[in-house]
């Protein structure tokens, strides 16, 4: 409706013959845009914001739902109306169908976009909407049901002549004798599962038993359905998925692939489109099978067919996601389509506007999922807190950031710890990756741990740059866990020179006072400084001399020239060391010389002291550090599911002590040494924060 108005104003001046054009254009616009008056978004965070953006573009009024803790969330502010549907736990708010149906009635929303997760693949929800005459923006109940069940979907795929993985298609209940038939390794999956939850790999009988226990518990708590299936595990595959778009008139398109192989614990971290691995023939074969499957289930709306692709480009159907995917923006970037808009059109009953031949691959798009998590703990354990400072790198060209948070937002234990999706686009892959590097360096996130360091390392890793990736990329490249960027000698010198220059700039500023004091201030004529910087285990003597507005810094016998505007309040600092420009972030400093600098994505801790102070500091007493082997602290915020020990028990090294559930994943906490349990500080059902003491050993 808004668009029609604008058109009218533009055309008005032209008069005469244009009046006819005006009439026709209004007529066309009316019919091409007429969809819904009001749409409810049954989701939160970035995806709710994403849907609202398209609704605004289409002139559709929006209704947001939120839990009580989300009352000030961005999606609530963006929507035309917002209604609280319950307290923080998702089961009582975003999954609370009764409350949501009530809101739909009250606000008279004509359609519901479910986003991803929550109720997006819930057939009961789709059914209830249908019975109320409300349009569900997504496929119909039949397709959701068929594809939501891993066992049923595999059978359907087989019938549609889609390549499938060998395995047991029936419900897997007893372990006896089924794994040997397939040979190890095997994959245990929750039949109702998705998003890596309830999924485990087993390499022998014992792991199968353990995996079965965990998966069924997770499946029960996440999906309320503990049925499992088992199939042969394709070792070292790529995860490539095809975006499909289908209408209610039997038309279906494939919108090319997304490469999603970079994963941790079966959850995607970096995605791109297109894939470096597919040739046009394989792409077409995969696309055609995906479309065949969509047609077989009379699919309408946007959906994704996931495939595992082995090194010989054999591909196997994994599952079909009957919703908008998290990583849909990369497809939008290379095809120019707005998938949410297409979904809304299809839901209203319009036929597709495009033919398969119209679907291009323009350039290259990369998406990094920026999470509030600590990448140094098994590639990412959730972190919670308040975003004390937050600034998206939107000043970098060709960057799209899909986020649902802002400075001051809380990342809570109740919801997914994703901060945003950072997408960069380029005419080719190299350009898109270069922009991603810049975007990651210019992204300011303070107050919670984040995975920028890991993302930046992945996108510059030679194997990733060459496209040599698989779903095992992270464990293969970092077999001992991710440890941050490893500085080369040159980079180390650059970092030291930058840190030393920052220190001197700060010292110089602290001697500059405005106004004229009664007792004159002694002006320092000092132009050179002798410093000692500690970085990791090394102590580096550094000489800094002021040279106009830049500094000449001597590190390891090499002279470097450091220039910057030295704006010490800005969260981003552009520093040029010997001609190389970099954006760094100084996260903190204190009077004792402790400084944290984010350099090449990784945060380095340095201590900068004058040479005199550094020499004297060796006389300072060493403070005894806490013995961490005899205490077990929670590595992340979450809920205690089970405690397996009690005071007085003897535990052996590696034995499970308790299980913590965070973000619906169960994590087993193990003893770091053999000993007697001295005290247990948690019990099942407790909510624990990061660093909370769980169990003490003697």
């Amino acid at each position: 409706m808004v668009l029609v108005k604008v058109e009218e104003e533009k055309m008005h001046v032209s008069g005469g013959r244009k009046a006819c054009v005006l009439f026709i254009s209004r007529f066309l616009l009316f019919f091409s845009l007429q969809t819904f008056e009001k749409l409810l978004i049954a989701n939160r965070g970035e995806i709710a914001c994403r849907v609202i953006k398209t609704c605004k573009k289409m002139g559709i009024k929006t209704v947001a739902i939120h839990s009580d803790v989300d009352a000030n969330a961005v999606h609530v502010k963006m929507a035309d109306e917002a209604v609280c549907v319950g307290p923080a736990p998702t089961g009582k708010s975003y999954l609370n169908m009764d409350a949501i149906m009530e809101v739909i009635k009250k606000t008279r929303a004509q359609a519901v976009h479910p986003g991803y997760g929550f109720l997006s693949e819930n057939k009961e929800f789709a059914r209830r909407l249908a019975s109320e005459g409300v349009t569900f923006i997504g496929p119909d109940t039949h397709a959701i049901q068929a594809m939501g069940d891993k066992i049923e979907s595999k059978l359907l795929a087989k019938n549609a002549k889609v390549n499938t993985i060998p395995g047991f298609d029936g419900v897997f209940e007893l372990l006896s004798n089924c794994s040997p038939l397939l040979g190890y390794p095997v994959m245990i999956k929750a039949s109702a599962g998705g998003g890596g939850k309830g999924m485990r790999i087993a390499w022998d009988d014992e792991e199968t038993r353990e995996g079965f226990r965990f998966s069924s518990q997770e499946a029960a708590s996440s999906f309320g359905d503990d049925r499992l299936l088992i199939e042969k595990f394709i070792d070292n595959p790529r995860h490539i998925e095809i975006q499909v778009l289908a209408d209610k008139h039997g038309n279906a398109l494939w919108l090319n692939e997304r490469e999603c192989s970079i994963q941790r614990r079966n959850q995607k971290v970096v995605e791109e489109a297109p894939s470096t691995f597919l040739d046009p023939e394989t792409r077409r074969a995969m696309g055609e099978q995906a479309v065949a499957l969509a047609k077989a289930v009379k699919y309408s709306s946007a959906g994704t067919v996931e495939f595992l692709v082995d090194s010989s480009k054999n591909f196997y159907f994994l599952e079909m996601n009957t919703r908008l995917q998290v990583e849909h923006p990369v497809t939008e970037c290379i095809t120019g389509l707005d998938l949410v808009q297409e979904m809304i059109r299809v839901a209203k009953g319009y036929p597709l506007r495009h033919k398969q031949a119209d679907i291009p691959i323009n350039g290259w798009a990369v998406e990094c999922r920026v999470y509030a998590e600590d990448p140094y703990k098994s590639f990412g354990l959730p972190s919670i807190g308040k975003l004390s400072q937050y600034q998206e790198p939107l000043h970098v060209p060709s960057v799209r950031v899909d986020s649902g948070i802002q400075q001051g937002s809380d990342i809570s234990i109740y919801y997914d710890p994703m901060i945003s999706k950072l997408i960069t686009y380029g005419s080719n892959r190299a350009e898109a990756l270069k922009r991603m590097e810049e975007a990651l360096d210019n992204y300011v996130i303070r107050g919670v741990a984040h995975n920028i360091s890991l993302l930046r390392e992945v996108i510059v890793h030679p194997r990733f740059v060459q496209g040599d990736i698989s779903t095992k990329f992270l464990p293969e490249v970092y077999p001992d866990g991710f440890k941050g960027h490893k500085l080369t000698d040159l980079e180390r010198r650059e970092l030291l020179a930058t840190a030393a220059s920052l220190y001197v700039a700060e010292q110089l500023r602290s001697q500059r006072f405005l106004g004229t004091p009664r007792i004159p201030i002694a002006k320092s004529k000092r132009s050179s400084w002798e410093l000692s910087v500690r970085l990791g285990d090394g102590n580096y003597p550094i000489a800094v001399s002021k040279d106009g507005s830049s500094f000449s810094v001597e590190v390891d016998g090499m002279k470097l020239n450091v220039t910057s505007e030295w704006n010490l309040a800005s969260p981003l600092l552009s520093v040029t060391v010997d001609g190389t420009q970099r954006t760094i972030q100084r996260l903190s400093r204190n009077a004792s010389g402790d400084t944290r600098i984010q350099f090449l994505g990784t945060v380095y801790k340095l201590q900068i002291l004058t040479k005199v102070a550094a020499e004297l500091s060796k006389y300072m007493p060493e403070k005894a550090a806490e013995d961490t082997s005899s205490i077990l602290r929670s590595p992340m915020p979450g809920a205690v599911v089970a405690v397996s020990v009690k005071p007085g028990d003897t535990v052996s090294e590696g034995q499970e002590i308790c299980v913590i559930e965070a973000m619906k994943m169960q994590n087993s906490m193990i003893a770091a040494k053999t000993g007697k349990v001295k005290a247990v500080h948690c019990k099942a059902g407790d909510t624990v924060g990061e660093g909370d003491l769980l169990v003490e050993l003697e």
């Binding site: 006072f513 004091p517 009664r518 320092s524 009077a591 300072m620 007493p621």
Partner: protein, 447 residues
């Protein structure tokens, strides 16, 4: 400005490598007095006084030559910190109080009457694990009261920063303490006749702080961290907190706004709901008086549910101690800016730099509730539980900033994100504020 650096710490001048007494100091993780001066003052700026003084003790063989050292006992003199003048001394007297800021740094044991020297200065800082302050040491305590107590328990840094409130902050070691002292020095004026220093500032004074719009939780019973607010409005998020471990229900400390030093006082909803009690009133009052004595503007963040009730507080004299904070704010003539973030109830509202105490600019956030007490408590007292809808009516009438704004008790209701901008603008305007009180020898604060 006077800095009491070392107290009764005899350190010889001669080469430290050869000297046994220095080695024994080192084994305790301490620096010598001269090394301390080297770290504290700008290079080559120290002019020493009384270098040739020796002790005059003749008992117990102390007059023998091997027990005599030139420059014994204490090191005193004058130097510069970031170009500004500072005097380093060991003991000074009361007359300087309120004339020049005085800071004590306790870097070793300090006992008996000597403890009154730091006690009389404006700020006392300690070094963890190596410094002690007590009137009588553990041995005397044992012989008189038969109480077993260690030096650390009796008068260590932890005791004095968290329990007694004698010390204002503790640092990890000598170096850490001296470097922090240099930084702290930059906040303070040289004397009561000098304005607080204005530093070069890179942080825009009109910076909006969007997170403040959501910092106060929707439920009025839920806590939040007042330090989040203070950090977000201060220049470069820097805040030098005074007494961070003592009476944590009130936060006091120094920050800069557009380069200008300010003293910040805030109730801390995270601790004991931010109520005022004896300890927090005394902590706040002393800080306010320091700022007023040395021309440092005061910024007060109010979220106070009231004075803590109960016999412990009343018997302890909360009336007398609470009056100190009231007195301190009322007598202060420096610029006073107050922001009510949420609760401002009853007498505690009045005490917290309200308009009634000559506040220059008093603002309320939209979440402010200026009332005699909370809705629940008020309804219980007024209606004795007989009126069902009274609570909602009370909330409607009083749990918002409008009644106070209509009476002129707050000057404006402001968008929280504009708080930094408003404060910086007001400080510019108030920089030339002069206010005088009637002549008196000195006021009689209810000590």
């Amino acid at each position: 400005m006077f800095l009491a650096l070392t107290l009764l710490l005899p350190i010889p001048v001669s080469n430290r490598k050869k000297n046994k007494r220095i080695l024994s100091e080192k084994s305790y993780g301490k620096l010598t007095a001269r090394e301390r001066i080297l770290l504290l003052l700008d290079p080559d700026s120290f002019d020493e006084y009384d270098m040739f003084v020796e002790h005059r003790c003749s008992d117990f063989g102390m007059d023998s030559n091997k027990n005599k050292y030139p420059g014994d006992s204490v090191v005193t003199g004058r130097g510069r910190i970031n170009g500004r003048l500072a005097y380093v001394f060991s003991q000074r007297n009361v007359l300087c109080s309120g004339v020049v800021p005085q800071i004590s740094l306790i870097m070793g044991p300090c006992a008996g009457g000597a403890v009154y020297s730091p006690a009389l200065t404006d700020f006392t800082f300690m070094v963890k694990d190596t410094s002690y302050l007590f009137i009588t040491g553990p041995d005397v305590v044992k012989s008189v009261t038969n109480e077993d107590v260690t030096q650390e328990q009796l008068g260590g840094a932890k005791t004095h920063t968290a329990v007694s409130g004698v010390a204002h902050r503790a640092f990890e070691n000598d170096i850490d303490a001296l470097l922090n002292l240099r930084e702290f020095f930059n906040y303070l004026p040289l004397s009561n006749r000098d304005p607080a220093p204005v530093c070069e500032c890179h942080d825009p004074s009109d910076r909006l702080v969007p997170e403040l719009d959501t910092v106060v939780p929707v439920e009025s019973t839920k806590a939040y961290d007042m330090l989040d607010i203070i950090h977000s409005i201060a220049d470069e998020r820097e805040f030098f907190e005074i007494m961070p471990s003592y009476a944590r229900n009130i936060v006091v400390g120094f920050a800069r706004m557009n380069g200008r030093t300010v003293g910040i006082v805030g109730n801390q909803p995270k601790v004991a709901s931010g109520c005022l009690d004896i300890n927090s009133s005394v902590k706040g009052a002393r800080f306010v008086r320091f700022c007023d004595a040395f021309n440092i503007p005061l910024i007060t963040f109010v979220d106070v549910p009231g004075f803590l009730p109960g016999t412990a507080q009343e018997y302890g004299g909360i009336i007398r101690h609470g009056a100190k904070l009231l007195f301190a704010f009322a007598e202060a003539t420096v610029p006073k800016i107050t922001i009510i973030t949420r609760k401002a109830y009853g007498g505690a509202y009045d005490v917290m730099s309200s308009k009634h105490l000559r506040g220059d600019a008093n603002y309320a956030w939209p979440t402010a509730e200026v009332a005699v007490m909370g809705a629940k408590g008020a309804v219980q007292i007024i209606f004795r539980g007989k009126e069902a809808n009274a609570e909602a009516e009370y909330v409607d009438k009083f749990a918002n900033p409008f009644p106070a704004a209509m009476r002129g008790f707050v000057d404006d209701i402001i968008q929280p994100s504009t708080t930094r901008m408003r404060i910086c603008h007001d400080l510019d305007v108030l920089a030339s504020k002069t206010q005088s009180s009637p002549w008196k020898k000195h006021a009689n604060i209810p000590l």
